[in-house]
Symmetry: C2
């Protein structure tokens, strides 16, 4: 496979975006395929995951991991196949998850990859419902949100990789589940296919009223992955003792300066105080010890048909930049992945 003429296409970060990224922020480079040294694996990318957090890595600000450097390959989780192995226990053809980035090939140490369980329904699920986004939904909802049967759970980006799983787990736990999504088609899908009790459109001018009507007993858990107008509509409806796991703030990722107008922080914290609300940020990396529980539960729920999962698959590595730009606009419908090689 790794024929002499094979090349490694890769996208590097060419420029730090201000606001929304543009295609010019990424440069496609062509390099020779690298060679695995002792103790290393040569991996070929099958699927690349596109996720909102990638926007944060394009900024030169400290976060839980360092930003992507200018000239460096864009980061990203992949499903990859072993093309050459200098590691005992790994054979050519083995399928693994790795953070191989936006490129065709990568050389990694064995400890940087994890073999994919052969029972997986589809390979790409290792980047979604059975991977990081699924675990994110699981620990954020269950361990931080701690919903009780009969409570009302609200989740934004309701048809996305994380939101769709949050809502369906909350239904399994006996909650009333209200989604927030962009557009009638997604709202329809959240209710008819995912089984949410209601879903409101964040593009509607009447978002506040619609959300209030969908949550007649207020909101006990708000799984925060969007921020923006959704958060503003949620806050007045939070009940005493509500929990707000903060997983993402995609509506704000492209902000290059703070919104003009009034400072709503006092309003937000006054609600936190009066209603004894718990707001807690979390990062999936801190919760890997829950992986076995997650994997067992999620595999069973998928098999029983209790969790539905939708993907949007882009073809070819070169569609990745536009894919990320669209993801940040909410243009995708379901978990966004890029098929880089294979079928």
């Amino acid at each position: 496979m790794n024929a002499p003429q094979a090349i490694n296409r890769r996208f590097i970060l060419a420029r730090r975006p201000r606001g929304e990224p543009t295609l010019g922020d990424f440069t496609l480079e062509k390099h020779p395929v690298p060679t695995a040294g002792p103790g290393q694996l040569l991996l070929r990318t099958r699927y690349l995951s596109l996720d909102p957090y990638m926007r944060g890595r394009m900024n030169d600000v400290p976060s839980y991991v360092p930003p992507v450097a200018l000239g460096e390959v864009m980061t990203g989780q992949t499903v990859s196949v072993v093309e050459a192995s200098n590691v005992e226990g790994f054979e050519v053809g083995d399928l693994v998850t790795a953070v191989a980035g936006w490129q065709d090939y990568a050389v990694l140490d064995a400890k940087q990859v994890a073999k994919i369980d052969a029972s997986i329904p589809r390979l790409s699920y290792a980047l979604g419902v059975l991977g990081m986004p699924g675990l994110t939904a699981y620990v954020g909802l269950l361990d931080i949100g701690a919903p009780k049967a009969g409570e009302t759970v609200v989740v934004g980006a309701a048809t996305g990789a994380v939101g769709s799983v949050v809502g369906q787990i909350a239904k399994i736990k006996g909650c009333r589940v209200v989604g927030v999504a962009g557009g009638a088609e997604k709202c329809d899908y959240a209710v008819r296919t995912l089984g949410f009790d209601a879903c409101v459109d964040h593009r509607d001018a009447g978002l506040r009223e619609a959300l209030a009507a969908a949550c007649p007993k207020g909101i006990d858990v708000y799984f925060e992955n969007v921020g923006g107008a959704t958060l503003a509509a949620v806050v007045p409806l939070l009940n005493i003792g509500a929990r707000v796991p903060v997983c993402g703030l995609v509506a704000w990722y492209n902000l290059d300066k703070l919104p003009e107008g009034v400072d709503r922080t006092p309003q937000f914290l006054t609600q936190v105080l009066k209603k004894r609300i718990k707001v807690q940020g979390f990062i999936v990396f801190d919760h890997y010890q829950r992986m076995p529980d997650f994997h067992k539960d999620m595999s069973a729920w998928l098999q029983e048909g209790r969790i539905k999962y939708r993907e949007e698959v882009l073809d070819d590595l070169e569609s990745a930049p536009q894919g990320l730009i669209g993801l940040l606009r909410g243009e995708n419908f379901g978990k966004l992945v890029v098929r880089v090689s294979g079928s």
Copy 2:
């Protein structure tokens, strides 16, 4: 004592303030002393507690308890003496805590009062270090903030009824403690008398730099009781996994509209996300089950001289309105109480 000519002076809420309260928002009324019915006690107020939360009760907005109605007696915790008892187990002369409000006399049911332990060092301590403010500090710091030895704890209103106790408990637990207070005299007191490691002045233009210098290892617990400029200085210094018990927001209590400028909510929540911060509002009423532990610990710490406690005592009920106005401006130095009768 309850001579025929005795009258009950009381302050009613005459008008809802916009912004800072003014003397005209309160009206002094004179009424006959009420009479205790069956199962009731006639109480005479000895000390009235003045606390920042009272500002919130003057607004017509729902909170954890209903607001004071127009024409109703201003709410407030008191140390009171039983003047007449129709309840078995209560004798004339017994000392109790009650929510008797801003008045000389009140009639309450026995279940609305609690007898004061005879071992109390000073009667007024039942409204402060051994009462609600003390318990607030104790549960907020220990149960929500959960500081570990060696961590850095920051507390605003550092010489106030709650803040001074928070900082001293944190010192007992082996933390580095940095206070924020208004003016050099208070900062001095926090360090020299209360034993804080440092205290910075929130009136200084260089607050951010001063706080950063005082917290070389960042901030692990921020006990939030002020909001405003202090919060803005704290947020960039919060460490990964920091805890922020939200107890009060006194800098914002007099806001009648949100501050103009930019909306800092995205900034705040982005920090919460990236640093996995827990922000949790709490109200002391939800934590009464901790009263026995608190009382045991605090009594011992006082006796051992490990907790210092300062009061500012105003004389006469009629000083209460100006006292509250000054409290909201930070003019008091120590726990503010009004001596209404007795010595």
